[in-house]
Every structure is written in structure tokens, then in C-alpha cells.
């Protein structure tokens, strides 16, 4: 396996869906290739960072409007009949 071929299997490897035969080859390549090791590590960390936390705050004025809209909808759908 060359670096370039490794790149093509990168998604599956990072997601743990690569088939076992290719996975073994992938790991053999990485054991002898520092750059590929670091790229895989960088990508894992990239995904971890984007999954962590909530990037934006809810505008206060919008939060109030949202709750008003929910209460109005609730009354509409929960009216007694």
C-alpha cells in the first residue's frame, strides 16, 4: 500500500468500517510511515473538536420569541375538545 492508496481508504479506516484485510494493510503501512500516522491522528482530532460543544449562543431576543411561538402552538394543539 502506498500513501496515496491509504488516502482512499481513510474514511473507512477512521470510521472503523474498513474490511479486515485492508485494515491490516493500512496498519502495516502506518507502522512504517510517520506522515500517514500523523494525518490520521489529525483527522480524528479534527472530527472530535467539531463534535464537541455548541459553537453559537442563542440570541436572547430570539429565545423569548421561540418560547412565545411554542406556547401559542401548544394552546392551538391542546385546546379542550
Amino acid at each position: 500500500m502506498k500513501c496515496e492508496e491509504l488516502l482512499k481508504q481513510l474514511n473507512e479506516y477512521v470510521d472503523g468500517t474498513v474490511d479486515p484485510g485492508i485494515c491490516a494493510e493500512f496498519e502495516r503501512h502506518m507502522a512504517g510511515c510517520n506522515p500517514c500516522q500523523v494525518v490520521v491522528d489529525n483527522i480524528r482530532k479534527t472530527i472530535t473538536l467539531y463534535r464537541a460543544g455548541v459553537p453559537y449562543e442563542l440570541p436572547l431576543e430570539f429565545r423569548d420569541r421561540l418560547h412565545q411561538a411554542l406556547r401559542a402552538k401548544w394552546r392551538e394543539t391542546h385546546s379542550a375538545d
Binding site: C3, N11, L49, R71, T77
Partner: protein, 213 residues
Amino acid sequence: MTELNPSATTDLELVHRAKAGDLAAFEALATRHAERVYSLALRMLRHEQDAEDVTQQTFLSALESLPGFRGESSFSTWLLRIASHAALKVIRKRRGLDLTSLEAVTEPAEEFGQIPHPEFIADWRWSPAQLVEQHETRRLLEEALARLDEKHRLVFLLRDVEGFSIRETATALGLSEGNTKVRLLRARLQLREQLTQALGDPATRLTPGHHEH
């Protein structure tokens, strides 16, 4: 009305109470999840007003669909699916294509052969755990995401951030699975490149290898 201690109550308990007619329970769910929904919408749409509209629509339709929520997935997963689809609807409208494939306006299938190679390869100076504590990180992440083409950004957000499967992502975007995978790889590599430029330790920088093992 029952006393709510929001932090100690699980989503599922709140869902049960809301189903039984407790508005305060539904509002507690909205308070808990609104920021997450808004953030996803803003990341997808890059427009504050549109993100607010999508957030509101999401909770209104969750309110209506709540009786049908059976808890097969977590409440937040269910909610974020609704939000993703609402945001995609806005994107389709912007492109003037009603409910048809997003694929129609993009170029033909992308090939793995054209994937750019990693350039700046280095260990990061901080761990993800340290980085999430740093104020600067948020700006860096959002700027890098904004620099992606929309077609790559959407695939990354649905697949990697919201946890859609490849097939779900492909279906939601009207793409083939093959094309979805290529876009995902491009998105991951581009984000990696940008983040590593900013976070990589130059002392550990490696030249791209041409190894054969």
C-alpha cells in the same frame, strides 16, 4: 404543574410529561436543546435569520410530532434530524429547486484521484480536551468550516457532526453514496489542513511521505 429540576430530569422523562400535556416539560426540552439546533442550522446556512427560522420550525414540528416519537433514537438525535431536513429545505429553496436533488446543481461525480494530498503534516500542540477549553478554538473551527464549499460543508456536518450514516447523508442530500464519500474525504482533509496550519507544532513537521510498504 409538577416541579421541574431541569438538570436532573432526563430528556425521556420530559418527553413523557410533555406527551401527557405538560407544557413546562416541553419548554424545558426546548431550553435544553435550542442552542444545539440553532448552531447546526447556522453552520449549515451561515445566515442568522434563516437559522432562527429553522430553529423555530424545528421545535414547532417537534411539538406536533411528539405523539409519534417512540424513543427509538434519543430525543436530541430525533430533533437534529428534523432540524437538518428543515435547513436543507431552505438551501433548496435558495437554489430555486423545489424538493429536487441538490446534486442537480453540482458538477459531475468527484473522483478519489483528484483528492489533494496533505501538505502541512505535524502533531498538534494541544490535545482536543485542552483546545475545547480555549476561547480561540471556536473561532478557528468556525472559520475553517466557513471556508469549505457548501457541498463539502453539508456532508461533513451531517455525517461527522450529527452522526448520519453515509447512506442517510446521501439520501438527505440527494447524492450517490460514492459521491458522498468523496466529498466527506475532501471536507475532512481540508479541515485537517487548515486546523493543522494553525495548531500544528512546526518542530514536529514532516514532509509528506512517498512510502511503499
